[in-house]
């Protein structure tokens, strides 16, 4: 039961680079010790916040992609909550969405390979009609 999650969090804008790295590495160790693994870490840099959060107008965004179960996420969120410089975070499960996208992509690729000969006289309408259900699926 391995799930993929995206953990995005914002730290206060005056946090120095080393401290960010330290925070990220502690999170990484927490992930590995709970039996998950970190797929990627991305520092998205300083951004303007859309609204004020804890009297800050800017924040440093960090994106973490992890694999693991729900217990791991629970632990990570608890850690983020108690970590003082973290001002906001969100966890999004992405594996199901990714599966859906892969499926659509596979269908499109298959359609792209086969079409050379098909008897599609009313091509645009047939294409549009066929494409919409695929998008909804």
């Amino acid at each position: 039961m391995n799930r993929t999650y995206e953990l995005m969090f914002i730290v206060r804008p005056d946090m120095v680079e080393e401290e960010q790295d330290k925070l990220i590495s502690t999170l990484e160790t927490a992930v590995t010790s709970s039996g998950g693994n970190v797929k990627s870490v991305e520092k998205m840099g300083k951004r303007r916040l859309a609204y004020m959060v804890r009297r800050f107008h800017d924040g440093i965004y960090v994106l973490l992609t992890v694999e693991g179960g729900g217990g791991l996420i629970h632990e990570l969120e608890r850690r983020l909550r108690v970590t003082e410089p973290v001002i906001k975070f969100i966890t999004v499960r992405i594996d199901e969405e990714q599966k859906r996208l892969d499926k659509i992509k596979a269908i499109r690729d298959a359609r792209r390979k086969t079409p050379p000969a098909p008897p599609t006289t009313p091509a645009p309408t047939a294409e549009a009609g066929g494409e919409t259900p695929a998008a909804t699926a």
């Binding site: 995005m8 996208l101 998008a135």
Partner: protein
Amino acid sequence: MAEEIRAMAAAAHGSPVGERPAGGDRPSGGDRPSGGGDRSDRGERRPPRPGGPGGREGGRKYFRRKKVCKFCVEKIEAINYKDVRLLAQFVAESGKIVPRRLTGVCTPHQRRLSAAIKQARNIALLPFAGRAS
């Protein structure tokens, strides 16, 4: 008096107006086929023209384009909360999610879109109210 004239005009256009839906005019947003006659003064509605059912685009001067779902047309499948540029197109100045009837987004995509916008709001990528400061 004006009412009478309008009524007459409507009667005069009665038959072509009645035929229009069959001519494939319905999907272009004209959900009131009989309203075409007396709304001609607005301009953006269709002018009082007995255009045949065949004249789809050529005949009318003020043709209201059919709204299409951006995601279906451009085949954008991934509606992600991180993609602020994309989401911002569907958020009004006030921060509200723009309704489907204005943007033309199809129902399944609007569902995903609104979910993504709400996630983006939660992580301060989009505002809850007002424009991004």
